[in-house]
């Protein structure tokens, strides 16, 4: 049972989108903490 090209592409694209979301989430949290003055 071998991984097809389309499944490999699907796996890679989902992972890529997930990774792209990470910095956005971190920056959003930072902005919220900064606004609430609760960074530290």
């Amino acid at each position: 049972m071998y991984l097809s090209e389309s499944l490999l592409a699907l796996l890679v694209w989902i992972a890529l989108i997930g990774t792209a979301l990470a910095p956005l989430v971190l920056l959003l949290f930072y902005a919220l903490d900064l606004k609430d003055k609760s960074l530290w």
Binding site: M1, Y2, L3, E5, L8, A9, L11, V12, I14, A15, L16, I17, G18, T19, A20, L21, A22, P23, V25, L26, L27, F29, Y30, L32, D33, L34, D36, S38, L39, W40
Partner: protein, 476 residues
């Protein structure tokens, strides 16, 4: 050296520039550290953004950027998927972080917990496992620094390894956990941006179709979903990742350092955000065949592919990304291990009445000492990164159930917890050498679980949770 893109002077210039930047940042953040709580636990008041970033960045290590491609190159699709399963450790630790903070609001280290919950004998076994793991991880990070520079530039292994260690020791020493956490935030953004760009260039230049076709032609096993060793690796890695996180003071010290109510959310979000990263970094390795790259050792495949894809400017870029990944883990490990040695070694065994000032000084000396020991152990390049990392799996997975039962079940006694950790480690070391690394963590965890169940069945105890509240605050 193969595929060198940077000459020694350029590599040295980048190293010095980045080193100075992080050290200055560390000094700036640590200038108001007055007590051991400030230095070791960032004042116990870390908010959600820094908490999430530090959990994620610490887990994105040289292993995510170097070993995930290595494992994909060796085990194919299961290598990258299996590596990403290490996110389960962060996800499962999320509720535990909340429990730890609630049980021990003034706690300091994972050693504090084991000693109060299980007593001295379990504490000795736990400390031995913890220190073997910490040194193994530190050495793998130091070696990764050397491998990175030798694969991307004319600098040799020893120069790269020494420089990265020196920089991390300096800024951890100056800034403590606050510097570690703040640099982790910046480093996580740099790493994520870098990984995304390299993956995008890989897809754009080579293409998923071409990669799939070349792998199918030359090494079809890498796409085989029923590759036995790879499936075994997948399960082994799940237990390994969980064991690493559940026992290590790197994660416990953060649970103590985060504001009340933050730990659960921060670890859970960090786990979700980390999950896809090894798939992206691992996928890059599959393009090695299309690019005609034959790495001299499997752990160099990631940097070599990235350098080939991005050219000489790209080599600078790759260097910054992997350097950030290395530093974000090395600083955390230096800080957490020095806390463990200060509180559980220096204070418990040598100077029980030491005041905060004395502990602060001792902690800083221990950071330096750890740096020196790691440097000495990294001098001979003893094993590949993957082999060294997986060797520690034999130790850490044995702590999973003693920790879980210790936090949630009053029945497990210290004697059985110690036996579970010791027997789990012993059995898995035998299997590591007789079968292979891919059975070490899973066997360690299963043997330890069996001993815990035996203890609960044969001689259940009745631990009083109030003992945690009564335990003297070790920072005072």
């Amino acid at each position: 050296m193969l595929e060198a893109q940077l000459d020694a002077s350029v590599a040295m210039f980048i190293l010095l520039g980045f080193g100075l930047l992080w050290v200055a940042f560390g000094w700036f953040l640590g200038r108001n550290n007055r007590s051991i709580d400030d230095f070791a636990l960032a004042g116990r008041n870390v908010g959600l953004a820094f908490a999430t970033a530090t959990a994620m960045a610490t887990w994105i290590t040289s292993n995510t950027t170097l070993v995930a491609p290595q494992l994909t190159y060796q085990f194919g699709v299961w290598g990258m998927v299996g590596y990403s399963m290490a996110a389960l450790g962060l996800l499962l630790f999320a509720p535990m972080a909340a429990r730890i903070k609630a049980l021990m609001p003034h706690g300091f280290t994972s050693g504090d917990f084991i000693r109060t919950r299980y007593g001295k004998s379990a504490w000795w076994v736990f400390m031995l496992i913890s220190l073997c793991y910490a040194i193994g991880w530190l050495v793998s990070l130091g070696m990764a620094g050397g491998i990175l520079l030798s694969s991307l530039s004319d600098l040799d292994y020893h120069t790269g390894m020494s420089a990265i260690l020196l920089i991390c020791v300096l800024y951890t020493l100056l800034g403590g956990l606050k510097a570690v956490i703040a640099t982790d935030f910046v480093q996580s953004l740099l790493i994520l941006a870098g990984v995304l760009i390299i993956a995008w260039v890989c897809i754009d230049t080579v293409g998923i179709s071409e990669i799939h076709s070349k792998v199918s032609e030359w090494q079809p096993e890498l796409l085989n979903l029923a590759f036995p060793a790879a499936i075994m690796f997948l399960f082994n890695n799940i237990f390994f990742g969980i064991g690493e996180i559940f026992h290590s003071n790197v994660w416990w010290s953060r649970a103590f350092a985060f504001k009340a109510g933050i730990g659960r959310r921060a670890y859970f979000t960090a786990g979700l955000l980390w999950l896809p990263i090894p798939i992206v970094t691992g996928f890059i390795a599959l393009s090695a065949m299309s690019l005609g790259i034959v790495p001299p050792s499997a752990d160099m495949v990631g940097p070599l592919v990235a350098a080939k894809l991005l050219g000489s400017i790209g080599a600078v870029f790759v260097f910054v990304v992997v350097f950030s990944a290395l530093a974000s883990s090395m600083d955390s490990l230096l800080a957490a291990t020095s806390d463990l040695l200060t509180q559980d070694g220096y204070k418990r065994l040598l100077r029980p009445k030491a005041a905060s000032d004395e502990l602060l000084k001792a902690n800083k000396w221990i950071v330096v000492g750890l740096g020196v020991v790691t440097w000495l152990l990294c001098l001979p390049k003893m094993a590949t990164l993957g082999a060294l990392l997986n060797f520690t799996g034999a130790f850490v997975a044995s702590t999973i159930f003693p920790i879980v039962f210790g936090l949630y079940h009053p029945g497990l006694t210290g004697r059985f917890a110690a036996a579970a950790m010791a027997l789990g480690t012993l059995c898995s070391l035998i299997l590591y050498f007789s079968i292979g690394f891919y059975v070490a963590a899973i066997s360690s965890c299963l043997v330890s679980f069996a001993v815990c169940l035996l203890g609960l069945w044969l001689k259940p105890g009745r631990f009083d949770w109030r003992l945690f509240k009564e335990a003297k605050d070790v920072s005072q």
